[in-house]
């Protein structure tokens, strides 16, 4: 059984319907990437899964349980953590406090987890008492991911982790993501940077116009000429 299974999800904002029935799944241990041209509904799909956008019809099952009616605060407790694309840190709190907020729903002692995060992201350790608002773009992204990892999530949802980063940093971020996956966390990524993310993905989906278009293994999608056509028409 798939870890996460979204079937025929219809969702949108106000009167506008963005997703017209999208189905995706993530199996345990996988990295799955969703790509597609701007405005295809990738981010909306993420938000629908975590409960920030209401799912109008269709179902989202996580470990077999329907989570499509849960509040975001409840989906987090079930082991599904989400990193938004931007504004994904608490700027006036210190880095350590940001990590503590990530563990908000944990009831056990999570100090060792903070240390683990500092080991994974040494940059953050050096400035643990600094206000997060003073971090650079790349460090912010790292902090946001570390924050989400504080819960030992089963599945991590990352919305465009490479957005707005310098090319050199993008590579580092993807390295880290691969490292996270190796510790047993399954990942669902929405990415603009299709090539790099598909290369390390087990599977990928291409969305366009709020519908599923193609599903294939990561490398196979990379070589599919149809993908380019979906982006640039023609």
């Amino acid at each position: 059984m798939a870890l996460l299974e979204a079937s025929n999800v219809v969702a949108g904002y106000g009167e506008t319907e963005i997703l017209h029935g999208v189905s995706i799944s993530v199996n345990k241990g996988e990295i799955v990437t969703i790509i597609g041209p701007n405005g295809c509904g990738k981010s909306t799909l993420m938000k629908a899964i975590v409960g920030l956008v209401r799912v109008r019809t269709g179902a989202v099952r996580f470990r077999g349980v329907d989570i499509s009616r849960l509040e975001p605060e409840q989906t987090v407790r079930s082991g599904l953590c989400y990193v938004p694309q931007s504004d994904n840190i608490f700027p006036s709190m210190t880095i350590r406090e940001n990590l503590e907020m990530g563990a908000f729903v944990r009831r056990d002692d999570f100090r060792h987890r903070i240390d683990e995060m500092f080991e994974l992201f040494p940059d953050l350790k050096r400035s643990a008492r600094m206000k997060a608002g003073r971090l650079s773009g790349g460090q912010r992204q790292m902090l946001a991911i570390a924050r989400a990892l504080m819960l030992d999530p089963v599945l991590l949802l990352l919305d465009e982790p490479s957005a707005g980063l310098a090319p050199g940093l993008i590579h580092t971020v993807f390295e880290r993501i691969r490292g996270i996956n190796e510790t047993g966390v399954s990942l669902l990524l929405v990415e603009q940077n299709a090539r790099e993310s598909l290369r390390m993905s087990d599977r990928g989906y291409v969305l366009s116009g709020g519908d599923n278009q193609i599903e294939d293994s990561g490398p196979a999608l990379l070589n599919n000429p149809e993908v380019g056509r979906l982006y640039l028409g023609g």
């Binding site: 106000g14 041209p37 405005g39 310098a166 993008i170 299709a194 090539r195 993310s197 640039l232 028409g233």
Partner: protein, 262 residues
Amino acid sequence: MTDSSPILQVRNVTKDFGGVRAVDRCTLDVMPGTITGLIGPNGAGKTTLFNLAAGDLSPTSGQILFDGRVISGLRPHQTFARGLMRTFQIPRELRRMTVLENLMLVPARQSGERLWSTWLTPWKVARQERQIQARAIDVLELVNLAHLANDLAGNLSGGQKKLLELARTLMAQPKMVLLDEPGAGINRTLLRDLSANIVRASVERDVTFFIIEHDMRFVMAMCDPVIVMANGGVIAEGPPTTIQRDPRVLEAYLGGYVNGPA
């Protein structure tokens, strides 16, 4: 067909938000009379560039010229007065006002906007109102919204709000319009109407359009040239067919050969 001097010139413009650089030494020209497309992956800085040109933001460095004069740093109503109008990605209609009122607001230098003229020269105001209303109805007919003239704008559908945004720009009779994703969230039929309206305005009213759009069919069918932004700067520019075949553009979308070819 195009003049020799560009109507909009972006000169080495940079915009930082805190630690994030949204627009990075961007330089581009838009020629008068064209329908120029602006495409690029998310976070490329397109909307920020529009905000800078329209006066909603000030650049950190660099200059923007419109019609040969510097406009960067002006406030929105001042860029409007120069003949540059923008629309919003998510329509911002005036909800509790009618569709007609939404349009009648737009024309500049209405004598009735001076408080005293509503008392001292009401006949002048009334005459101008009649003219403006007639024009507004013309524009509404153009975009097929005339039957909704007296409905509250807040009650329009998403697609109709998009048309209202376009109608507002037609009402202003600007020299140039910045359209931010006019096609997002509207259906095929409306999209066709919209394109037809843009082309007509461009030809008949001599308006220059600069359009951010993600629907590639729309861009390829209408825009020439197309400018491609990525990471805050321009990476390619040219006629749509060339852009479509340009490997750099696809790379920008798919994530380039940052560490050598894949």
